[in-house]
Each structure stands twice: as structure tokens, then as C-alpha cells.
């Protein structure tokens, strides 16, 4: 059964079509990376799926249109990990993760034991059990990222949308975060959709890649089919090499030597010419 189905989704912001007639079906339990150059509409597409901005077309979750759902009902189905979440420094980790229970509570209810247990479970799974009373202001970037994912887990939604989940992390924490999402997905059957800039990293984890350019889906498939020298050149304007590693692929940028006078070769020190051709 498809978890998410987008039909002719268009988002117009400030008179510009940021997402343009996108059709997309994401199966339950899938791990999809949404890639594309800056301004391609990745974040906007995720926000539309979570109904955080107005869109034309239709988005269905488990066969039901999101437009017809109550806000809290939608948030029980979809959790969002924003690229730059606000983490008030006075709030403790426990309080913050508990905010993930909001859609289960209704506006007036108080958290009960079930909610506190869901938070405890989320903290445990992210190895944050001892962190409950720590204020957010005392955490490192990597710890904060885990806390935000814990909030999404406490939400107990089956779909998690992540906007650049690894952008602020070093390579060790990137690996840790994505491994963790992998495990969570395997254990709980989560559907993961992540907007990502790091193509190599995305290619190691995602099962499927959707390449956006100017708001349109221009390529869709397994990473090694989507990541080709030709598509990357056309849509990113980048000149790269694709290197296969263990059935996955890595993207290596080609250095633009033609831009720089090569002093080692010439050695004459008086050459000012920037050779403008490849």
C-alpha cells in the first residue's frame, strides 16, 4: 500500500511555481532521498506533504486526502524533522521530546503515563536516556539532532519527513544519524523521506532517489540510475565522476583545473592568462 501519493502537486510562492505538477508515489516502509540543486523545491515539497503551506493538486496518505484531515490527525501520521529546528535553550530534553506528543493530546489535555512512556522509549532508542533533565542549551549539535529525531519518534507517526537531516553534522555524526534512521525503519516499518544535498551520503542509505529541478521531478529511481555524470551535469551544472563502491555509488567532484594557471607546469610566473576553455 502506498504511504504517500502526490497527484499534480503545485506550490506557488510569490508568483513563482516552486513545485510544478509533481506526481509521486511513496510506498510504505520506503527510504526516499529527495535531491536537487539549491532552489529546486525540495524543502517546499516536504512542507506541502506536511500541509505546512498551501498547494494545488492532491496529497493522500493511506488513501485519504490530507486537505480533509484535522491538523492533529495529520500530525499523528507525519512527523517533520526541520532543517533548522528551534530548540529553546531553557527547555529540557524531556520537555522538548514530550512536545512530540502534542498531536495525541488535543489542545486541553494533560500528558498521561502513556505519553511519558512514549518519550522514555524514544529517548532510550536514541541513547538519550540520561538526558531527560538536561537543558537544550547545553547540548552539542549532534546531540540536538538526536533530540529532534527523538521528538519525531515520540510523535509515533509512520512517516517521517527530514529536511537536510545531516547538513549540520560531521561525518561521524552523519553516519550515526543515518544508521539510526535505518535501524528505526527496519524495526518499526517507518517511511522515510529526506531532502539531502550530500549525494554520496544519500546514495549509501536511500533506496530510491527523486531528483527535482525547477520544481519538477526529472529523475526517479535507485541511486545508481539517478546519479549519472550526465544528469548531474545537466541539473546541477556540476562536473563529476561516479565511482561504484560495493554496489552503491559515490560522487566525486572533478576539480576545475582549467580555471587556474598551472604554475607547476609553466613555472615562468609571468603567465596571467586564465584559459577560458576546458
Amino acid at each position: 500500500m502506498s504511504a504517500i501519493r502526490l497527484t499534480a502537486v503545485t506550490v506557488t510562492l510569490g508568483g513563482r511555481r516552486v513545485v510544478d505538477q509533481v506526481d509521486l508515489v511513496v510506498e510504505e516502509g520506503a527510504w526516499v532521498a529527495v535531491i536537487g540543486p539549491n532552489g529546486a523545491g525540495k524543502t517546499t515539497l516536504l512542507r506541502a506533504v506536511a500541509r505546512l503551506l498551501p498547494f494545488a493538486g492532491s496529497i493522500e496518505l493511506d488513501g485519504r486526502a490530507t486537505a480533509a484531515m484535522r491538523r492533529s490527525e495529520l500530525s499523528r501520521l507525519i512527523a517533520v524533522v526541520p532543517q533548522d529546528p528551534s530548540t529553546p535553550s531553557w527547555m529540557t530534553v524531556g520537555e522538548y521530546v514530550l512536545l512530540g506528543r502534542t498531536p495525541h493530546l488535543g489542545a486541553l489535555a494533560k500528558e498521561g503515563r502513556r505519553d511519558l512512556e512514549a518519550v522514555a522509549r524514544a529517548l532510550e532508542r536514541l541513547d538519550l536516556s540520561g538526558f531527560g533533565a538536561r537543558p537544550l542549551g547545553t547540548l552539542s549539535g549532534g546531540e540536538k539532532q538526536r533530540v529532534v529525531v527523538a521528538r519525531a519518534l515520540a510523535q509515533e507517526a509512520r512517516i517521517i519527513l527530514l529536511d537536510e537531516p545531516t547538513a549540520a553534522l560531521d561525518i561521524g555524526h552523519q553516519q550515526q544519524a543515518l544508521d539510526l534512521l535505518d535501524v528505526l525503519r527496519a524495526e518499526s516499518g517507518l517511511t522515510l523521506v529526506a531532502a539531502m544535498h550530500d549525494l554520496t551520503l544519500a546514495a549509501q542509505y536511500a533506496e530510491r532517489m527523486v531528483l527535482l529541478d525547477s520544481g519538477r521531478v526529472v529523475a526517479d529511481g535507485v541511486p545508481r540510475d539517478v546519479l549519472t555524470e550526465e544528469t548531474i551535469a545537466r541539473h546541477y551544472g556540476a562536473s563529476i565522476d561516479i565511482v561504484p563502491v560495493d554496489g552503491r555509488v559515490a560522487v566525486i567532484p572533478r576539480r576545475a583545473r582549467w580555471l587556474i594557471p598551472d604554475r607547476r607546469v609553466r613555472g615562468d610566473g609571468c603567465d596571467q592568462a586564465w584559459r577560458g576553455e576546458r
Binding site: A79, V80, P82, E95, K110, G132
Partner: protein, 352 residues
Amino acid sequence: MNATAVRATAVRPRGIAPVWAGAAVAFLLGSIAIGVAVGPIDLGLEGISSSLGERLRIPGITSSLSRTEESILWEIRMPRVVLAAVVGGMLSLAGATYQGVFRNPLVDPYLLGVAAGAGLGATLAIAYLPDGLRGQALPAAAFVGGALAVFLTYSVGRSTGRGRDTTTLVLAGVTVASFFTALQTFVQQQNADTLQQVYTWILGSIPSSGWSDVVLVLPYVALATVVILVYRRVVDVLSLGDEEAASLGVDVGRVRLILVVAATVGTAAAVAICGLIGFVGIIVPHAIRMVAGVGYRALLPLSVIVGAGFLVLADVIARTALSPAEIPLGIVTAFFGAPFFALVLRTSRGAA
């Protein structure tokens, strides 16, 4: 109980720490004691407590106060202290609510034009109503003016910004406030003979009018307080920003409207009776935040208690410092509040 349940207790949200709750309540009770004890006629704490004992029907206690003293205590001082407490609690609660809803530490309950609207209403009543009617109609006129201004602010803000963007709403508030202030100043200039009265109203004061004003304000304030406190958990969610709050299942536009309407109705009622008492709505919540370092869940109820005590004390100063003359309350709150707040700013651990 399994291991997870045990660990769950570690993530319980900090409510109000008993020490802060105790301190706040002690502060309020102390302020009330000072409020009823201090005045031109010395009733003595003994007399006051014996009178209170008798009223509470504690067996064996009879009031040592004379009939006149009794009526000074229960018909003049007590209602004034209670009114100051009700208004002070409301103004700080409204201030804290606005700060949470607009995610801006600098906003006060007058942000959306309630002060300018109430000012116009009061000025019109003072300038054009006959003396006999004025006393009764002034609070009503001020209330209607304040509510009308906020309604206009919301209409303007919504029509341009779909009601989602708080900046639009704040700008609409500034716009409406300027317009109403212009009208108010014009009316005031045209009726220069009433300048003194208008000015006195604008600087704020707690009237010594017995229980009638308390009865007038209390329903609005009680309703506003209950609504805001019931939603206090959601204010913490709103502090993450509109979009994240929405992704957590909060209908941001609706919740914000409910909170703003509640805070505004309470503020308008307080302003209608007591004029524009400034500063309370900003310094009380901030002082609490800096000292106790808490989220809105605890800040909102604490604001009610501490704000009540603060205004009772300020009113004591207002009516005794230059006795028998009264200093306008708005001057007292700023004159004593500002240095106190400066002290808190210097010594706090920057929890805000």
C-alpha cells in the same frame, strides 16, 4: 511497573517547582497583608487578623476593631487590594501570553491597540458625557474602545497576512494604535478643560470604590485567566514557531486567536476600570523567567500570582507616598519597577 515506566518519571515536564510556587504565594500574601495594614488609619495587624478570624467564623475569635474600623477594612481597603491584585495578575498574565504567542519578549498587553482604543473610549466619555452618567459609562466606553481596536487590528492583520504571520499582526496593531491615538489626542485638544481628568485616567490608578468595581472586572478576568491557563501547554508548543507548532498538530491560527482574545478581553476590562497601568505586563513575566528559568507552562500561573502581589505593593506606594494625595499608579510601577528590573537583568543567569 516496568523499566520504561520507571524511566518515564524522569521526563515529567517541570511544573512549578514547589520552592517558586511557595515563594510566589508568600509574596502575594505578604503584599496583601501590607496592602490592608497600611493606610492613614492604623488598624494594627492584630485588629485585622481578629476581624478576619471573626469573618471566617473561627470559634473564640471576635474582632477587636470598632464598627468604623471594620468598614474601613472591609469596604475600603480590602476591595482596593483585591482589585489591585486582580488587575495586576491579569496584566502580567496577558503580557506573558502575548510574549509567548508572538514569540517576542518585548511585547506587552497593549500591543494590539487595546490601550489606544480604551484611551479613545475613555476620552470620549470624559469629554462628552454629562457628569452624572460619566462614572458609569467610562468603563464601558473604555472597554468597547479597547475591544474595537483589537478587532480592527485582527481584521487588518488577517486580510493581508492570512493571520499566520505575527509580524503582520504586530504592524496592524501599530497602525490601529496610531490611528486611535490620533483621534484621542484630537478629542482631547478640542476639550482642553477635561485634560486633567483624561491625563489622570491615562496614567492609571486603582479606584477606592468598594466592591462594585471588583464585581465588574472579575468575570472577564476570571474567564480570561481560566482560558489562558487551560492552554498553557500549547503556548510552550507555539514557542517553537508557527510552522513547527503546526507540524506538531496545533491549529496555530485558531489557538492564537483564542489566546489573544482571552488576553485582550481581560486586559480591556482591567484598563476600563484602572486606566493604563504600564510596565507590569513586561517586567513581571521577565523577572520570573530570569529568576526561575521556566517555560510558559509554569510562567503563566506564576505571572498571575506575582503580578497580583506586585501591583498591590505598587498601589500601597501610590496611595501612601504623598498621602493624602495619590501618585498615578503607572508612574509608580515604572519608577520602582525599572530599577528592580535593572537589578534582575544584572544579576540573572540570563535564562531568558
